[in-house]
C-alpha cells in the first residue's frame, strides 16, 4: 500500500511539474526558443501572486484572476520588445538573452523582496485531504493535478481547433509562407509567449502555495520543466504531462527507498529516458 501511495502522490506531484513545463513546451514547439529564464518567470509569478494577495487580501487562488492576465501581457511585451530580435537561424542569441533575463529577474526580486523565503497562505485547503480507497489524498495536490490536466487539454484543444492554434502551427511549420498568409510572425510569437506566461502564472501560484520560494528558486523549476518536456517528447503537450508524472513518480519512489534519493531519482529517470529514447517517449509525429 505504501508503494501505491508513493505512485499516486508522485502522479499528483507530476501535475505541478507539467505546469512548470507546459509553457516551455509551447514556446519551443512554436518558435524553437529555449527559454532559460522560464524558471525565474515561474518564481516571478509566485511573487506577483504574493503581492496581489498582500495588497488585496485575496485568496491566492483568486489572485490568479490578476496574475494570469498580467503575466500574459508581460509575455507579449517581452517577446515583441526583446526576444523577437534574437530569433533567427542561430540558436545562441536567444539562449544568451534569456540567460541574461534570468539574472535580471533574480536580482530584481532580490532587491524588491530580499532573499528571505516567502510563502502564500491558502488556508484550510493546504491541509485538507480526502480518503480514496484507503489512500489519503491532499486536496491541494489533487486540485493542482486537475488544473494541469485542464490547462493541457485546453492548450491542446486551442492548438487543433481554433484559428489561433492554426496560426501557431502554420508559423511553426514555415515562417515565410505563414507571413504570405497575412500572419505577422512577430505578433504570433508575442501571442505564444503571452499564452506561455499565462500558464507560468498558474504554475507560479501553485508553487507558492505548495512550498516556500525565494528569488533563487527558479533554477530548480527550470530543470524540472526541461526534464518533463524532454521525457515526454518535444512539441507534444500530453507527452509533457506524462513527462511530469514520470518525474514526480520517480521522485516519490526514490524518497520511499531513502528520503535522500528523492531529487536524484528524478534526474536518473530523466537520464535513462534520454539515453534510451533521446527523442522522448511521445515525440510529435509531424505529419
Amino acid at each position: 500500500m505504501d508503494w501505491v501511495n508513493a505512485v499516486v502522490q508522485g502522479t499528483l506531484l507530476g501535475g505541478l511539474y507539467a505546469l512548470f513545463a507546459a509553457g516551455l513546451s509551447l514556446i519551443f514547439g512554436i518558435m524553437r526558443l529555449v527559454n532559460i529564464a522560464h524558471g525565474d518567470l515561474i518564481v516571478l509569478g509566485s511573487y506577483l501572486g504574493l503581492v496581489v494577495v498582500t495588497a488585496t487580501g485575496m485568496h491566492p487562488l483568486v489572485a490568479l484572476i490578476v496574475a494570469v492576465p498580467v503575466m500574459a501581457v508581460l509575455g507579449y511585451v517581452l517577446q515583441r520588445g526583446i526576444l523577437n530580435q534574437t530569433l533567427g537561424d542561430d540558436l545562441l542569441p536567444p539562449l544568451l538573452v534569456t540567460f541574461g533575463l534570468s539574472v535580471i529577474i533574480q536580482n530584481a526580486l532580490l532587491e524588491g523582496f530580499t532573499a528571505d523565503p516567502q510563502k502564500m497562505n491558502a488556508g484550510a485547503i493546504e491541509t485538507a485531504s480526502v480518503s480514496v480507497g484507503g489512500l489519503q489524498l491532499g486536496v491541494l495536490p489533487l486540485l493542482t493535478f486537475a488544473i494541469a490536466v485542464g490547462v493541457i487539454a485546453a492548450l491542446q484543444w486551442m492548438f487543433y481547433n481554433t484559428a489561433l492554434g492554426r496560426a501557431f502551427r502554420a508559423v511553426s511549420d514555415n515562417q515565410e509562407i505563414a507571413q504570405l498568409m497575412g500572419l505577422n510572425r512577430r505578433h504570433v510569437f508575442g501571442l505564444a509567449m503571452g499564452l506561455a506566461l499565462a500558464v507560468t502564472a498558474i504554475a507560479g501560484i501553485f508553487l507558492g502555495i505548495r512550498t516556500s520560494f525565494d528569488p533563487a528558486a527558479g533554477a530548480g523549476r527550470l530543470i524540472y520543466g526541461f526534464e518533463a518536456v524532454i521525457i515526454g517528447g518535444l512539441g507534444n503537450l500530453w507527452g509533457t504531462l506524462a513527462g511530469g508524472v514520470i518525474l514526480g513518480v520517480s521522485q516519490t519512489l526514490g524518497a520511499k527507498i531513502d528520503p535522500g534519493y528523492q531529487i536524484l531519482a528524478g534526474h536518473i529517470a530523466f537520464l535513462v529516458v534520454l539515453a534510451v529514447r533521446p527523442q522522448g517517449l511521445f515525440p510529435r509525429v509531424s505529419g
Binding site: A170, D173, Q179, G287
Partner: protein
Amino acid sequence: MPDPLLSLSALDAHYGDFQALYGVDMTLMQGEVLAIIGANGAGKTTLMRSISGLSQNAPNQITYINQPIGALRADQVAGLGIALVPEGRQLFPSLSVEENLLIGERMGRKGPWSLQAVFDLFPILEERRAVASTSLSGGQQQMVAIGRALMANPDLILFDEISLGLAPVIIKSIYDALPGIVGSGMSAMIVEQDISKALSVSDRLYCLQEGRVALEGASQGVSREAISAAYFGVGS
C-alpha cells in the same frame, strides 16, 4: 492610359553580396495576365519574392494601386490583395488540407472565393479535406497551394512554376482551371518554364535573363526567334 495596378521601377534585389535583379521595370494593368519566362537562375522567383514582400526593397521600387509597397512586410502586402502561389507548393505539413485552405482566408477580404468555391474548382480536395496535406499527390498539393492563395480573394495572384514536376494530365487540369480564376477580373503573373503554355494563357510576356528584362511584348506578337534570343542570350 489608366494607371497600372502594379509597376516596378528600377527594381534591384540582392542575396548578400550577390545581385539577382538589375533595374527591372515592369507594369501590369488591371485584369491583365503577364507571363514571366527565363532560364534557370534568371531571377523569376526573386522577382516574386520582392513583389510579395518576402524580400525588402526601397519603397518606390514597387508601386501597387499608386501606393509604394517595396518596403512592406509580406503580411502587409498580403493584406493589400497580392497573393503568391510559391514555387514548390510549400504547404503547411502540420495542417490538414482544409486547414491549409482556411489559413488563406485570414485576410478577411471580400470576394467570390470561399472554401466551397475552391472545392467546386478542384472537387478532389473536398474528398480529401480532412487528410494531412503531406499525404496528397504533387498535383493535389498544387491545387491546395492555388486554393490557399485564392482564399485571400486577392486582386493580383502570382504563380511561381505551377506546373513544375507535375504529370502532363495534371498540368492540363490546372491550366484548364485558370480561366475560371483570372476570368473574374483578377490580375495574374505567371512564371512558367513551358513557353507555349506561358504564351497561350497570357496577354503579355517578360523574359528575364540574368536578372535583367531581356524582352517584353504582347504574347501573340513576339516571335519564337526573339524569345530564344532573349532566353538564352544568343544573338544579342
